[in-house]
């Protein structure tokens, strides 16, 4: 894996390299694009079943034809792939077996038959059979000449079909009831998606192999989901991720011809996916955690300002400095949480700190007042409009006060016509 081979590969001077790269990239990206819709329909594992089920088809086609003509093998693979989906549907609808059991059953039985046939072929000593087992784990390097044309032809067809029916596929993925009601042929589109899935699996087997083919359908889609909400963008992102993994697969095939390419492609796409799961902005695990923490902190800060305002209300000295003890007497907070929050509020300019006591600044007082106002307005709203007993409204107000926007605030004030008192006869500060 030295720099020289790296340069040779990425200079794309060898026509063989170009053809393998084009083939692998087309296969993986078109599978990723189809995978988006199986993912959205929550049928990711069905793709896995189909992927395993094409093996007996390939073997049967070989036994019947006696050669490795890719067209015949593809047809065989396509037939058993389809057959597996039909039996899956039939078993789930006509027996009490659950879908995941049916998937595991269909997957393993079809694959078992495939293995039996494959070993039968291998032991039969047919000279033409060598290389048939490269369909198990994939061999991108075999994507040259006629094979390249056929496999990339199918890939391009897949891409074109998806772009042509994009809107329909999107609709049935999210809301097939609505699709039916607006008069779309839902059954036909479902069949189309099934056909596309089987085709995607069938083309992918050359580069990735049947065992890990499902990953190329599922993983790019799952990873892309973490970067965007739009299905269109998701499709593009998944295609790019798929293409990148295909490129790596081709490279591995180039530097280590004996190495199966499928696992490498899957490792690359999985690494991208794991990175997305953890570090994607907004939806990733890390940013989710940070968001949650930030929300907790701002709730804590707002509660603290509210309590300081309460203390000032009682002795009519809103700007007097309060000791930790006085705050804790008003409401219990864990000590370190309280100290951190006080420090934050000081740096944000809501509080001042002197001799271990904390006092409102002007802005701090205003914000504390607003929180108390929101709390009491909401309590009043609940008891006036929803007829909830005054002793039941506090808990709800305690949570909602942190999310009320200025717009809702203005509406509440208007609807209740700037009330003076909340249901507990505390005055509402403006």
């Amino acid at each position: 894996m030295d720099l020289e081979t790296f340069k040779t590969f990425f200079s794309f001077s060898d026509p063989n390299i170009i053809s393998v790269v084009i083939g692998a990239v087309l296969l993986t990206s078109s599978s990723a694009v189809v995978g988006i819709f199986t993912f959205l329909k929550k049928k990711a594992l069905v793709g896995d079943a189909v992927a395993h089920a094409v093996l007996p088809g390939i073997c049967l086609a070989f036994i019947l034809s006696g050669n490795k003509n890719p067209v015949i093998l593809l047809i065989g693979a396509f037939i058993t792939g389809w057959l597996s989906l039909i039996s899956l549907d039939y078993i789930t609808s006509k027996s009490k077996l659950k879908e995941d059991t049916a998937i595991a059953l269909v997957l393993s039985v079809f694959f078992g038959v495939g293995i039996l046939l494959l070993t039968y072929i291998q032991h039969s000593g047919n000279a033409a059979q060598t290389g048939l087992d490269s369909f198990l784990f994939g061999k991108a390097a075999a994507l040259v000449g006629r094979d390249l044309w056929i496999f990339s032809g199918v890939s391009v067809t897949l891409l074109l079909t998806v772009s042509f029916f994009f809107k329909e596929l999107k609709l049935i993925a999210f809301d097939s009831a609505f699709a039916t009601s607006v008069g779309l042929p839902v059954r036909a589109i479902d069949q189309l998606l099934t056909t596309l899935t089987v085709l995607a699996v069938v083309t992918g087997i050359q580069a990735v192999g049947v065992v890990l083919m499902a990953a190329i359908l599922i993983t790019p889609a799952a990873a892309a989901r973490f970067w965007t909400h739009s299905v269109f963008k998701m499709t593009i992102i998944a295609a790019i991720m798929g293409a990148f993994s295909g490129l790596t697969g081709a490279y591995v095939s180039f530097i280590a011809p004996a190495m199966p390419t499928g696992p490498w492609i899957v490792m690359v796409i999985s690494a991208i996916a794991l990175f997305s799961f953890f570090f994607a902005p907004k939806r990733g695990v890390v940013s989710r955690y940070l968001q949650q923490r930030q929300l907790q902190q701002s709730i804590m800060d707002e509660n603290l300002l509210k309590e300081l305002f309460h203390i000032g209300e009682v002795d009519h000295q809103p700007f007097k400095a309060r000791s930790l003890k006085a705050i804790l007497e008003e409401r219990y907070f864990p000590k370190n949480v309280l100290l951190q929050s006080l420090k934050r509020l000081k740096t944000e300019g809501y509080l001042t700190h002197k001799n271990g006591s904390w006092a409102f600044t002007k802005v701090g007082h205003k914000k504390g007042k607003r929180m108390v106002k929101l709390h009491r307005l909401w309590e009043l709203y609940l008891s006036e409009y929803l007829k909830i007993a005054p002793d039941h409204v506090h808990e709800d107000a305690e949570t909602i006060e942190h999310v009320i926007t200025p717009e809702i605030e203005a509406r509440l004030e208007q609807m209740l016509s700037f009330p003076q008192e909340d249901p507990h006869q505390s005055s509402i500060p403006y």
Binding site: F39, K42, K43, A44, L45, G47, D48, K94, S95, K96, L97, T101, A102, I103, A104, L105, L107, S108, V109, F111, G112, V113, G114, I115, L116, L117, L118, T119, Y120, H123, S124, D133, L136, F137, V211, L212, A214, A215, I218, T219, A221, A222, R225, F226, A258, M259, P260, G262, P263, W264, V266, M267, S270, A273, F277, F278, R283, G284, V285, R288
Partner: protein
Amino acid sequence: MVGDAISHAVLPGIVLAFLLTGSRDSFEMIAGAALLGLFTTFFIQFLNKKAKLQTDAAIGVTFTWLFALGVILISVYAGQIDLDQECVLYGEIAYVPLDVWFNDNGVNMGPRALYVASIILLINLVFVGFGYKQLHITTFDPSYAATIGISLGLWNYLLMGAVSITTVAAFESVGAILIVALLVVPPATAYLFTEKLHHMIGVTVVIALINSVAGYYLAVAINGSIAGAIVTVSGIIFLLVFVFERLKIRAFIRTKDLISQS
């Protein structure tokens, strides 16, 4: 389906244990696989709960990733270990009698895998025997189990642990993918025509025995993989039972129609 995921995902555990200890001693391999099995269960839960990834995708991503890792380890270290990619896929039960265990006095004690398989069978029997009530309740009525103080998490992890070690024991003989068939097909077949759990277990064992014996003779007859043949037979038996049950239901509906007409 999590069982399926685990059977794929234990592969890197087996290979790593193999590389680290340099032996085919089953204890290390089982420990490695059990660890990976637990990790898989945990990781799927994690993706599902913390990353809010839908279950099917969480399973799919996790096991393909770990399986790929296992295959890469095998092909990178192909020279150093006598595991190969084909063995991973469908094992070779035919070689099992060749791998015999000699005791300290050099006496031939018979095939090693036979001992391993027997021990695992014993462990599983003890596990199901003693945990029958707990497994039964946690499977059928998780909320009731929780109210009477049976830990759902514990029994789930124990069950997945049992799946993991069984997978390893079967690994050399049938490979990582076909083991799924051995785990799923016989109980699914039994489930079609039994009502009670203990009946289902009994029927499952009988079906599994028939599968193995018939599968062996099929493999010998056409000179193919024994594991593949066992799975093929189990598929055929499932199909027969399925069709038979469908016919029975139809006949039942027809007689009911006749009765209501007369």
